[in-house]
Symmetry: C2
Subunit: 422 residues, 2 copies
């Protein structure tokens, strides 16, 4: 993609109405644009990031056998009455449809998926099953000042699993934890994301959150030493729960846990029969007896992950995208002015594309070197390649990974093979 043709530009002055670091950086870089608090447009570069994250999630969910579907945002009141949640979910957007019908915009889809998949479950032979969707969701948040971290409209992957019994659910739940860890690792958040115990409700002792540690976090978690496990705030007064998590627990041990700020980047629940009770979803067991189907649910927000990456991995120069998430792998900066140098740089661009490397090419004329290099830092592609009269005179390019402090002069001869192997 040529920067001269890209519909967006980097933005100098960003409104201070959205003070969150992620929104400021992503807006300056031309990746997103705020329409109102908690509601954003994704511009070409931002949508590429979002799609990359969604595809990573898709691959990891397919790996554990979940099948993708797409459910509606518009939901009739009747299904929310059936689970007695119409008045209980306080962030539910409510509206009137044709014929004065009460509708909700789905912030979650248990009310839709349970009867939907229930219709395809008759006997134990039809279990287990898991479905997921990657979809735009809505929450009428009273306050939305955290950029992509707390949206009124946001992207969500929600997965639902259906099982014969608790053991089947437990087994799949463990698979889901591993799949989630793979997602965070591939998104560059693996080292900073903790599997965090939270309260479980009626059907299970614990639920789990995935919390990415960062000084910009809104949540507080307590890390168990020498592990990637943490405990959330609400569990810290529950001694029984603590004893189940902290090895060789003695009263007061929780005071020695490290208190950390974090962003919640996923959560998973064992629902048991909470929803299959409401919709009477049963299966016939091996013995012919009818039993309630047992469910789990698993949420992760692609737009929130995008915001978290922007918060956690950026530096004072701008965004820093991990390989698998980056909109382009190489940011090729031309500082050439002579026709012959420009045409050699065009050849480098063509060659990179031909060997399958995705390139953002700053081919703009009349833009100063400082501006071009600053834009490259701000946009945060993993590798920057600068071509100028000086580098070409040496048959070289100037190569720098986004995290590096200094660029290295790399001969054109070896440059392509280095990139392909990288």
């Amino acid at each position: 993609m040529r920067l001269s043709a890209l519909v967006t530009k980097t933005v100098k002055d960003v409104s201070q109405s959205d003070v969150s670091r992620n929104a400021q950086l992503l807006t300056k870089a031309g990746f997103v644009d705020q329409l109102m608090a908690g509601v954003y447009s994704y511009l070409p570069m931002g949508l590429r990031v979002l799609s990359n994250i969604e595809n990573i999630i898709r691959e990891e969910m397919e790996t554990i056998g979940a099948q993708e579907i797409l459910m509606p945002a518009l939901q009739p009141r009747e299904i929310w009455d059936q689970t007695e949640r119409w008045d209980k979910v306080d962030v539910l957007f409510k509206l009137k449809g044709a014929g004065d019908r009460d509708l909700a915009l789905g912030p979650t889809h248990e009310e839709v998926v349970t009867p939907l998949i229930g219709r395809f479950i008759q006997s134990y032979r039809d279990l287990p099953k898991a479905v997921y969707q990657i979809q735009t969701k809505f929450r009428n948040e009273p306050c939305a000042k955290s950029g992509l971290l707390r949206g009124r409209e946001f992207r969500m992957k929600d997965m639902y699993s259906f099982h014969m019994d608790q053991r089947g659910l437990d087994d799949f739940y463990k698979l889901a934890i591993e799949a989630y860890k793979n997602v965070y690792r591939r998104c560059g958040l693996g080292d900073s994301t903790l599997l965090t115990y939270a309260s479980g409700g009626v059907f299970s002792k614990y639920s789990h959150e995935f919390q990415t540690v960062t000084p910009y976090g809104e949540d507080i978690v307590y890390r168990v030493p020498d592990t990637d496990i943490a405990i959330n705030k609400e569990l810290m007064n529950d001694r029984d729960a603590l004893a189940g998590i902290i090895p060789n627990y003695k009263e007061g041990d929780e005071k020695n846990l490290e208190e950390l700020k974090a962003i919640e980047v996923g959560n998973i629940f064992k629902l048991g029969s909470r929803f299959t009770d409401s919709f009477n979803v049963e299966y016939a067991g091996v013995d012919g007896e009818k039993r309630k189907v047992v469910m789990g649910c698993y949420g992760i927000g692609p737009s929130r992950i995008m915001g978290t990456i922007a918060e956690v991995l950026s530096d004072d120069r701008g965004l820093v995208w991990p390989d698998e998430v980056a909109p382009y792998h190489v940011h090729l900066v031309s500082l050439c002015r002579d026709e012959s140098d420009i045409s050699r740089c065009e050849e480098i661009y063509a060659k990179l594309k031909s060997i399958g490397i995705s390139v953002l090419y700053d081919d703009r004329q009349g833009v100063q070197a400082g501006q071009k290099l600053g834009d490259a830092d701000l946009m945060g592609m993993p590798r920057r390649v600068v071509v100028s009269a000086k580098t070409l005179a040496d048959n070289c390019v100037e190569f720098m990974a986004r995290g590096d402090k200094e660029a290295t002069l790399t001969p054109l001869q070896t440059f392509y093979s280095v990139l392909v192997e990288d």
Copy 2:
């Protein structure tokens, strides 16, 4: 994909509340499920079809230089007041957000895209530009009884182009017409879809609809003989307009046009400065003078195209998916019962996948041959391959394209290469 593992099954008894042919067929085949009138879930096979259609559209829009973005469904009232459309678009879903703020669910995005892209346009050097999104849209339809053809929630590709002047718009508009024709051709609707003249509004003599001819259509169009051009009903009383479309027009000629029922599968408009006036989007010309940016808009509904394919290309046995749209290319039906035959059929499945052919594999045990063949017809993959003790004894499979009347016995030796070339 193994049918034994697919979360859905074909459905015998479908509610008659949705009488449209497309919804009946797609529901029976387990591709979609109605949550309420005009609101559907897409099940795994249905979502594959929808994604295939969306990817075709994506490719064709990229080919003419449009860049993909994603805008919000939630829109504040203020931008609709600015274009004076808050009370004029009668299908606008309205709701209240936090702080009692008036919001709309976007049925179209001129109010968002015009100021958004306008911010990146300063001078003639920034033009032309084109952006598109593929997104879930909402219309509060008073009546929604046509399945995927008229949804209250539906998928939409909307593209917007920005130009210096009318000539730039005209040139891009012609490119868009060709891109749209490519989409219909690749979706199997090319031969039955007519470029249809409609009234144009203030800024242009005509707009255009793409109308797919079918006895199940809700619209009426009038075909110009020996062309793929038609005229819509509202233009038939406008002699000036008719004279611009019908070659060598004489008064009364319109009575000789063929009247056809059709489904509108796309529409394109020259907007002129209708929206750039409202949002004051200007550019500095070569001479430094400020001028209004000129816009076009281009809509096509992937979910409606899916419904149209189901209406138009199906037969009395079920759905018939064109190659590029089909969820899988081959429906492999095992009628094997012996362990050794089953294991040979598994080998065929593995081999097909290994050579890159996408396969729906009916590996179900205890299901009668009639049911399996009926399901294959209903689901409508382009090619059916039946493997049984009898075919295996001859080292053959039974091959049938979905449109064919009879199957042909094909030797295993040549079968794979035939499929690859197909």
